[in-house]
């Protein structure tokens, strides 16, 4: 990546909230992907008779009704939730950049067609769209969930990218590239999109928070990540009957969701502020 994107990130880190968000994200990611080596083996046979044990020695977050260690499950659920969110956003942003780039660069009927499609898609609540897709496709594998979350997440990004591309299309360096004989592919990929990298990064960061919440919601409804694969939303679903008797089984995955989304949004807002100081 180029220097100016790096400078944008450094500038976002000058704000206290951006710094806080970045630190939490870094710690969470580190924790979720490193902790499995330090924690009790989650696949170790639990003592099914013991039931839900409150937090204490040996199980800092307690255990669930099947006596599985909650901390271990929060950690491996985090691996799933963060990977799903990261990959889905990567897909969404790529699609959004390409569609927005094409619409903005070519204009005319292609632009109208793509943007009316986006208008239509944005008029349908995303959760509804997802429920529809998931209802049609039962027993969706994890990869497909990523695909579906990505495919429903690019609309807003494509609008941002289209607007920026429209603005840049008449820039003299783009005309110079045309005059040199550059084709549309080269102009979009080498001249237009790199100059929209900042807004795309902001959209992506904020998108990660959205997708974590969506995935948690879907899993809570029992149609996202399927058991026995742990996920934060799925853990809260499992913990529902224990809400009054063993609240730790839902509090810790809930806290994990809230902390992650908060951190991601803090960083996203800081990035947006760094990109355009007037909007901060």
């Amino acid at each position: 990546m180029t220097g100016s994107l790096w400078r944008l990130m450094l500038r976002a880190l000058t704000s206290p909230s951006g710094r806080l968000g970045a630190v939490i994200i870094a710690l969470l990611t580190l924790f979720v992907f490193v902790a499995p080596w330090l924690l009790p083996d989650p696949s170790a046979m639990p003592d099914l008779m013991a039931g839900a044990v409150p937090p204490g020695a040996g199980h800092p977050f307690g255990t669930d009704q099947l006596n599985r260690d909650v901390l271990s499950r929060v950690v491996s659920g985090g691996q799933i939730s963060l990977s799903v969110a990261g990959l889905a956003v990567l897909l969404a942003v790529t699609l959004g950049a390409l569609v927005g780039g094409l619409a903005g660069f070519y204009g005319g009927w292609l632009d109208s067609a793509l943007m009316r499609m986006v208008d239509g898609a944005l008029a349908i609540p995303r959760l509804f769209l997802l429920l529809l897709l998931v209802a049609v496709w039962e027993q969706m594998p994890l990869g497909a969930l990523v695909l579906v979350l990505g495919a429903t997440g690019w609309f807003a990004t494509s609008r941002i990218v289209r607007g920026e591309v429209l603005r840049l299309r008449e820039a003299e360096f783009v005309l110079a590239a045309t005059a040199l004989g550059a084709g549309p592919g080269r102009i979009i990929l080498r001249h237009l999109l790199p100059n929209v990298a900042g807004p795309i990064l902001v959209a992506a960061t904020l998108g990660v928070g959205d997708v974590i919440l969506l995935e948690a919601g879907l899993s809570y409804l029992g149609i996202g990540v399927r058991p026995p694969t742990p996920s934060w939303g799925g853990m809260i679903l499992d913990a529902r009957p224990l809400l009054t008797t063993a609240p730790w089984t839902s509090i810790f995955p809930g806290l994990a969701i809230a902390t992650t989304v908060l951190a991601v949004n803090l960083l996203g807002d800081a990035l947006r502020g760094a990109l355009d100081p007037r909007s901060a």
């Binding site: 220097g3 100016s4 110079a176 550059a182 084709g183 080498r190 790199p194």
Partner: protein, 325 residues
């Protein structure tokens, strides 16, 4: 006379309001029938005030915008008839240098990559040779070859303009549109860039269409000059003749606005009344008549459009050119 390098005939560019809710309004006649030629190794200066359509001429010739009508022949071949692939190939021979040294370079590309891009597109050199060629080009335009890994924001306006020139030169063009290449620069830097352009012309035999609003700049670099007013050429001829003995009242007014270094020189300053008329609703007859200070101005000026006709060494579009004053 042999075929000129570039021949522009009756070039027209009208902008129409488009869109779903656009009202039917008359088109903006940015360029309204412009013809000229540029010979090999020659510089034609195209002058006029802001909004007269001179930049549009440069951009439509290169097909950076589509012309409404007219034709351009380059090296005897119809440039406007080329299809997409052939056009991209032909673009190698015709380049452009822009006015704004800030928006004319991609901020995310090193200047080495920017200069190399044209060579890559047209496969002018094997990959391994490109860095050496970039270095030579940087030297040719008076920059340190080590700069190639830097980004545009590290350079001054004059340096950026040199980078833009190197980028155009990289594909070895025969013709370059210089779209006000020095008007954003300090006067001292202007002279350096103009000298560079003149040197390159002497060395490589490149032709320029030099667009400017400053006659002093055109005097330095152009062999011939064409003066535009409201989308049309009103006077054209060899630079010395037109600047020494302007025949069109508009040219006279433009010339009287050029600053003179000697504060004691007494001279007549012709101040034109009013603003240039809207190109979407040009005046009848001679488009210049509402602002024309010529004493012989008469009814014919308001009804009949004057055509370019020979007066001395120049061609002038004025019914009363040649009559005093």
């Amino acid at each position: 006379m042999s075929t000129p390098l570039l021949e522009v005939r009756d070039l027209v560019k009208h902008y129409k309001a488009t869109g779903f809710l656009a009202r039917k309004s008359p088109p903006v006649r940015a360029v309204d029938g412009v013809s000229f030629t540029v010979g090999k190794g020659e510089t034609l200066g195209l002058v006029g005030e802001s909004g007269c359509g001179k930049s549009t001429v440069g951009r439509t010739i290169l097909r950076l915008q589509d012309a409404t009508a007219g034709s351009v022949a380059f090296e005897g071949k119809d440039f406007f008839a080329l299809q997409a692939a052939a056009l991209r190939q032909a673009r190698q021979r015709l380049q452009i240098i822009f006015q704004d040294p800030y928006s004319s370079l991609n901020p995310r590309m090193t200047i080495g990559d920017a200069i190399a891009e044209g060579m890559e597109i047209h496969r002018l050199a094997p990959r391994g040779e490109i860095p050496a060629r970039v270095a030579r080009l940087l030297e040719e335009v008076g920059l340190d070859p080590d700069y190639s890994t830097r980004y545009p924001h590290e350079f001054s306006g004059g340096q950026r303009q040199r980078i833009g020139i190197a980028r155009a030169l990289a594909v070895e063009p025969a013709f370059i549109v210089c779209d006000e290449p020095v008007s954003a620069l300090d006067v001292s830097v202007q002279a350096q860039v103009l000298n560079l352009l003149a040197d390159l012309q002497a060395r490589r035999g490149i032709s320029y269409l030099f667009i400017a609003h400053d006659l002093a700049v055109v005097r330095q670099i152009a062999h011939r000059v064409a003066v535009m007013y409201l989308g049309r050429i009103v006077e054209t001829g060899p630079t010395e003749d037109v600047l020494a003995r302007p025949a069109h009242p508009y040219t006279k007014a433009l010339l009287s606005a050029v600053p003179v270094p000697d504060p004691n020189t007494q001279r007549l300053r012709i101040v034109l009344p009013g603003d240039p008329p809207s190109p979407s609703n040009p005046p009848s007859g001679c488009a210049f008549h509402p602002r024309c200070p010529h004493p012989a101005k008469d009814a014919r000026c308001t009804t009949e459009r004057p055509l370019l006709h020979q007066i001395g060494a120049a061609q002038v579009a004025c019914h009363h050119a040649g009559t005093a004053p």
